[in-house]
């Protein structure tokens, strides 16, 4: 399984990860090795097999649809690296 450098850069962009050139080269090589291994899955004919997304399906109860008290704004903001006026603060998105 070969991955181009462009593909590695595309994946890193989708995942919002800033990588150095050295990291890109290393992850390219390692991801190729892992993808070679998982290619084994293609051996199996699964045309009539349904997918399993969760093994808990069928046992998941629904809760009553009513509001409940949650955590306070202050408690949640306490961990923010930057906050102002009871909100998370970020660099400007629009000029």
């Amino acid at each position: 399984m070969s991955l181009s450098l462009q593909e590695v850069e595309h994946i890193a962009k989708l995942a919002r990860l800033k990588l150095t050139d050295e990291q890109k080269a290393r992850y390219r090589e390692q991801l190729e090795a892992i993808l070679d291994h998982v290619a084994k899955l293609q051996e199996l004919d699964t045309q009539d097999v349904p997918p399993t997304a969760s093994v808990a399906v069928g046992q998941m109860p629904l809760r009553v649809d009513e509001s409940r008290p949650g955590l306070s704004t202050n408690a949640l903001l306490e961990n923010a690296p930057k906050q102002a006026d009871g909100q998370f603060q970020i660099p400007p998105v629009f000029e």
Partner: protein
């Protein structure tokens, strides 16, 4: 006071009830032992100073209540740093959560606290529970108490090592692909991965949401069962936690001695005894199975034909789920931020600099598997093969009550042995992954030692929600053997 730390959880319960010692003495002894051994083990990321105060309060309450004690009143436990405890930091072993103080407590921990347990600290782990050695912790490796040049396993290596080194009688871990069972095996302790959905995941920092389970380490199956039965059961805060009654059998030594394992059918899957695994692991596992037979179990050869596909399935599904779960770490709401002029660059730089190598690798792998054009070939196919693995277990459990197999292909390996070779590290999980994918419960317990004196563990697996059978079989085995009583020379 060092002998107090040698007591099992059951013995601590009895001693406290009978007034042989106080909770303050227990917690003091634990804190002293932690202070003495931490420099060589590095099992904790945070030790709770308030534990001693809590112990004094527990002692006061027990005088007032006079015998009407809570079941875990005054007993110290440790918690893996991926579970939140209000008032204690939670890093999940990552720099991206450095300094995070969770505003709420995980349900599993809360239930232990409500039963009187005292959380003495948060244990080291592979970053975001991704790893099999604790080497991926951003805060340094944990050392195996049996041999300090070796890993304790992972990802719950800190919890396993803390129980093995007699720092605490029990510790919580989490198991997504083997992260309780494999370190239990490497550290010579008993470790349970419950059925998926049996214990609430509320307050567990998510890795692979369809696989994550809160588990527990102890020195005996009995101790593990005590903690499990308190944690288990439906929680409205976790939609995947099952509304299935928890089986809480009466346990007494006499009863299990009489019954032994008569009537219990144990299957031995041929696919778990493979070329390349350490011969001593295979020998000791076979010997333990023979012992279970002597104790009354019927042993059958069985087959789980899709076992070899578990590793590729897992390394698509878990990273795919992780890539989505870890999208929340962006330097905006919690953890540190790497400042930049644009929001876009805040995301890229914070994530690029604060995630470690293994976490980055898995986010990349998962993102690739879910990306346009590759979804069906990777994620879709892996979900279908997961069905085949699940069916293997369903078929097997029509014929047997339990499945017995090794917990890991080797004993604890040297620190650095798999550095730079992720695939070699992934192969360490080859025996624990299938049960995780099928969602069935498993327990790992010590069944001997290799020629260098390292512990060997074996797993028993049961069908969904039959943890009681795991406890029964392991307990009967532990009544007849003393492997679980051996301790590292520290």
């Amino acid at each position: 006071m060092s002998e107090l730390t040698d007591l099992s959880l059951k013995e601590m319960q009895t001693g406290l009830r009978e007034g042989q010692f106080s909770s303050r003495e227990l917690v003091e002894a634990a804190l002293e032992r932690i202070a003495q051994l931490e420099p060589s083990l590095h099992t904790f990321l945070h030790v709770a100073e308030a534990a001693l105060q809590h112990a004094k309060e527990a002692d006061k309450r027990s005088t007032i209540d006079n015998g009407q004690q809570l079941s875990l009143a005054g007993i110290p436990v440790a918690v893996k740093d991926v579970l939140t405890v209000e008032g204690m930091p939670a890093t999940a072993g990552s720099k991206i959560l450095e300094g995070f103080m969770p505003p709420y407590t995980a349900t599993a921990v809360k239930r232990l606290q409500e039963a009187g347990a005292i959380v003495i600290g948060k244990t080291n782990m592979d970053e975001f529970a991704m790893g099999s050695s604790t080497e991926n912790s951003a805060y340094g490796v944990t050392y195996n108490p049996w041999d300090l040049s070796r890993v304790p396993g992972g990802s719950s290596g800190g919890s396993a090592a803390a129980v093995a080194a007699r720092l605490v009688p029990a510790a919580l871990g989490t198991d997504t692909g083997g992260s309780v069972r494999q370190p239990a095996s490497f550290c010579g302790v008993t470790g349970l991965k419950p059925t998926y959905g049996r214990v609430s995941r509320y307050g567990l920092i998510a890795f692979g949401s369809s696989l994550d389970c809160v588990g527990v380490f102890g020195r005996t199956a009995e101790d593990v069962a005590v903690i499990f039965e308190i944690m288990a059961g439906h929680d409205p805060l976790d939609a995947t936690s099952a509304e299935v009654e928890v089986i809480r059998p009466e346990r007494s030594g006499a009863q299990s001695k009489d019954k032994g394992l008569h009537g219990l059918r144990i299957g031995v899957p041929q696919e778990y005894f493979i070329e390349g695994m350490q011969a001593e692991v295979q020998e000791r596992t076979r010997a333990a199975i023979a012992q279970l037979e002597i104790l009354g179990a019927e042993v059958h050869e069985i087959s789980l034909p899709h076992t070899e596909y578990a590793l590729p399935v897992y390394y698509i599904l878990a990273p795919a789920e992780a890539s989505a779960n870890l999208a929340r770490f962006d330097g905006v709401r919690y953890g540190p931020r790497v400042e930049a002029d644009t929001l876009w660059d805040v995301f890229f730089k914070t994530r690029g600099e604060k995630f470690g190598a293994e976490v980055t690798r898995r986010i990349m792998l998962g993102t690739y598997a879910l990306s346009a054009g590759y979804y069906d070939a990777y994620y879709g196919q892996a979900q279908k093969v997961r069905t085949l693995i699940k069916r293997d277990f369903e078929t097997a459990f029509e014929k047997v009550d339990l499945i017995a197999c090794p917990s890991a292909p080797t004993t604890a390996f040297k620190i650095g042995a798999h550095t730079g070779d992720p695939l070699a590290m992934y192969l360490e999980d080859v025996f624990t992954l299938p049960a995780s994918l099928a969602g069935v419960p498993g327990i790992s317990f010590p069944v001997g030692f290799d020629s260098t004196g390292l512990p060997i563990g074996m797993q028993l697996l049961a069908s969904h929600f039959r943890e009681d059978l795991l406890f029964r079989a392991t307990h009967v085995y532990q009544q007849a053997t003393d492997w679980h009583k051996q301790k590292p020379n520290m």
